[in-house]
Subunit: 266 residues, 2 copies
Amino acid sequence: MARRPISRSFSKKAPAASPGLRLFRLPGLPEIQRGDDLAAHIANAARKAGQQFENSDILVVAQKIVSKAEGALVQLTNVSPSPQAQAIALRQKKDPRLVEVILQESRRIVRTDPVLIAETHHGYVCANAGVDHSNVPGDDTVTILPRDPDRSAKNLAAALLKRARKRIAVIISDTFGRPWRLGLTNVAIGASGLPVLLDLRGTRDRHGKPLTATVLAVADELAAAAGLLMGKSEGSPVILIRGYRYKPSSELATRIIRPAAEDLFR
Amino acid sequence: MARRPISRSFSKKAPAASPGLRLFRLPGLPEIQRGDDLAAHIANAARKAGQQFENSDILVVAQKIVSKAEGALVQLTNVSPSPQAQAIALRQKKDPRLVEVILQESRRIVRTDPVLIAETHHGYVCANAGVDHSNVPGDDTVTILPRDPDRSAKNLAAALLKRARKRIAVIISDTFGRPWRLGLTNVAIGASGLPVLLDLRGTRDRHGKPLTATVLAVADELAAAAGLLMGKSEGSPVILIRGYRYKPSSELATRIIRPAAEDLFR
């Protein structure tokens, strides 16, 4: 990065054409069951897709299959809704047992109308505290977010290192909505092995001026990129990203949570 | 997509390994000047990078160079700050002329502390109404967002079609912050030729259950993916995305703006 003002044309200083970034689906995973060895399933899927893992590869794994492997599922038939859950369910025309699970997964309810937005015990703010019944077999089962998605990512990275002998970074992702923009984007809720926030403060722009307020949420951008191939119903919960240059890091995805003092909406 | 419940294992139904998604930098652009033909510069950069455009390619172009080409720059020496701008500038230790430009670019100030968050005339909510002085030559010049980024995208796509005879979708992007999560991500503020929101409602998950509330902000995910290669100071404001399957669309990026009635924070 330029440390002092440089001349107008960059043509001569342009980097050579890079191989760029590549993203691949690893299709063919079976329906994941509690206790399944995700690393084994992923390695198997990679082999069938003709992919050899390389050091610095990044795997983005949808939260849903991590929750299933970890048994982070709740049977609604076992749930007794509280009066608060019943009141919210009535207003929102939701299953009161589902609302009860959402309340149990939340440390703060941000708002209840028109949608239930909660802060999870991890600190993530999202609709329904991440409780979801899509892509779950049966009508009365919902998934909840993994208890510690950063640990899930770390465990999966360690298992892949052991199995494939490659240092592979892992992002656990989920699709979250945003306040001012419609639609969901895939974001990181767990990470292992790569930077979550890339702090460019202290570096300079191409005219040599210091860059202020420039911290890039690269784990979220990686998750978003993977989201383009995951779809929602296509059974592609594991995406391999290759060619993204990063320094190995032990940063946790929870680092991305805006501290309460900086939260613009408290 | 599955229209009825299907069996547990997807192994046999898995799609064949796809070529996946590829992203390339188109480096070597000169410093863009007012009136420059962006399509010509981009075609030239692609040629130098050894890339032949293909139908359905997607170009993600950083707002900064679009603003420069369109002359969307303001000389601060020509700006007289209003009393309101002076008051905000004093509290935030900012240049009152910069604050004045931000106010002029805003139709609503969402908050002023700790950062100035504004709703632009387009309806985008972001820090400083998109007014920025990084990557601009000179100390007293700032860029503002293009007046109509969707039109900028459409014009660029039309110019590329004429020049390269390929139907190329265009996203104009900028890096925005988010309320609950730290860091900036690259998002779409202009679009031409591709869907901005991908509505999966009415489709079913892999267990045959209808997917509710599943509208994916694919233009933002494409912009985020490109953001991984753009960096901030590396002079890579144009990223080519290849391999993303989409139906051509005339949807505008402004469609992504959450209507006031649905805005969770009004």
